[in-house]
Amino acid sequence: MNYEAVIGLEVHVQLKTQSKLFCGCATEFGAEPNTRVCPVCLGYPGVLPVMNAEAVRKTILSGLMIGCKITQFSKWDRKNYFYPDMPKNYQVSQYDLPLCLGGAVQISGKKLGVTRIHLEEDVAKSFHFDTTSGVDFNRAGTPLMEIVSEPEMRSPEDAFAYLTALKEILITGGVSDCDMEKGQLRCDCNVSVRPVGQEKFGEKVEIKNMNSISGVKRALEYEIPRQIAALGRGEKIFQETRRWDDEAGKTSVMRTKEYAHDYRYFPEPDLMPVTVSDAMLAEIQKLLPELPEARRQRFIYQYGLPEYDAGVLVANAALAKFFEKAAGKNPKAVANWMMSVSDITTTPIQPTQIGELVTAIDAGQISGKQGKDVFAAMLTTGKSPAIIIQEKGLAQVSDTGALEAFCEQAIAGNPKSVADFKAGNKAAVNALVGQVMKLSKGKANPQLVGEILAKKLHSA
């Protein structure tokens, strides 16, 4: 029997704000444990939450970027469950009236639906020792957006493309840095399999603990065949939560349905609802950036870039921005140089300098091969190409007087090549060019040398 997978993703994204969702503690990664905490985010007796306006704005902006409907009346609810990483033993989240509903993420060839986006608070971080666990509450209360997809993905590749596109959008909008290593983007998968043609979903399994987008793909590449094989053996799939072990390349059971939570959601009495007025929406709409897909199209049209180049540049927001400043008169050449840069934000290079490099090559001042050395030096030193060419003594000799002297020297020293040439072997001129290059220590402009030699040999 042929099976197909049905995949839905729950993506948690930490919003890029100065302060936490309900208090003024800084949202800072990597601080000493329990130094970014206060009575509010520690859930001390008597404290109250006050909603961070920027977190609400960034959630709405995210919704606008992926075409969600922004809920006019949105509220918060308490999700009750006990866990040491949760200071109040309830999480403030949104149950039935999230900020954003609907929407879709475009991947090549199709749109993958988004069910909802809601704003909630992040939990603390636990560390496990032999007999105890330790909790660092610095992360507790960080604004966290949950983006729930429709179960419309059918393959690990779909999931990979969805996450990659979503991440690009969120970074472009300045909503989050989406650094998975820092936990700024986390993803849980719901995956089931069903015989092709069957409408009803199979029993779904939740997979947790993927630390990268490729990890999500790997986990699905393991889990889907596992479920299909189990069904093939006549086994049943049970609703359960499984943990992905990236090193072992396997998922294993974390908990089964019997431990299903009863979250006892109810409206958070300490927080007032948010009504999104047209004016508020208009303000946020002004912040809407050009989205990756639109930017890709513009790069192709405006700069005449090949689709591939546009894709590479747009995939990295910083690179794309840099490119637009650098493009100059020969955008294709600039794009070529830029695509080789791994992280534009850490180099001292200035956008105009890439144009200068391209001009130097186009004008024949240096060769393309030399350009590579110059570019490498530009990336590390931030010096202009002119200075590097000078420092390295790379400038090609285009002074015809000097070149003529070299050419005469070469003709005088290689009578055989001259004879060959005169006998009709036009390629023999290459040996003479080589000789000139050697005499000039590689600095001669080869094109010019060729012209001078041809002239001299014909007249001789």
């Binding site: 704000t17 000493e32 329990n34 609400v56 020792f129 105890t132 660092d136 409206p267 007032m272 609802p273």
Partner: protein, 97 residues
């Protein structure tokens, strides 16, 4: 109103609330819970068709604060109030998932 208040699973409720109860407490609270539920059943007399629930006693919306960070509190106080701490962390018996 759910009629079936005879079958209150007090163990389940106590588990949800993370409350260890003695057998005597279980018997007593189960009976009192049953009484309370019988009393609140009078709400079923009230017709609430089309009535919006009241979650807040004041009709405010959009109570938001500017995104500004403020100094946190002295971590020493945080650790001092915790029953157990080490290496800057608040310590609990091992968490098993």
């Amino acid at each position: 109103m759910p009629e079936d208040t005879n079958r209150i699973n007090i163990d389940h409720v106590a588990h949800l609330a993370r409350l260890e109860l003695t057998d005597a407490e279980k018997t007593k609270f189960a009976a009192q819970l049953k009484d309370m539920l019988a009393y609140v059943a009078k709400l079923s007399e009230v017709d609430v068709t089309g009535v919006e629930p009241t979650a807040h006693a004041v009709p405010l919306t959009n109570v938001l604060r500017p995104d500004e960070s403020r100094p946190s509190i002295d971590p020493a106080l945080v650790l001092k109030n915790a029953p157990e701490s080490a290496r800057g962390l608040i310590i609990m018996p091992k968490i098993v998932e």
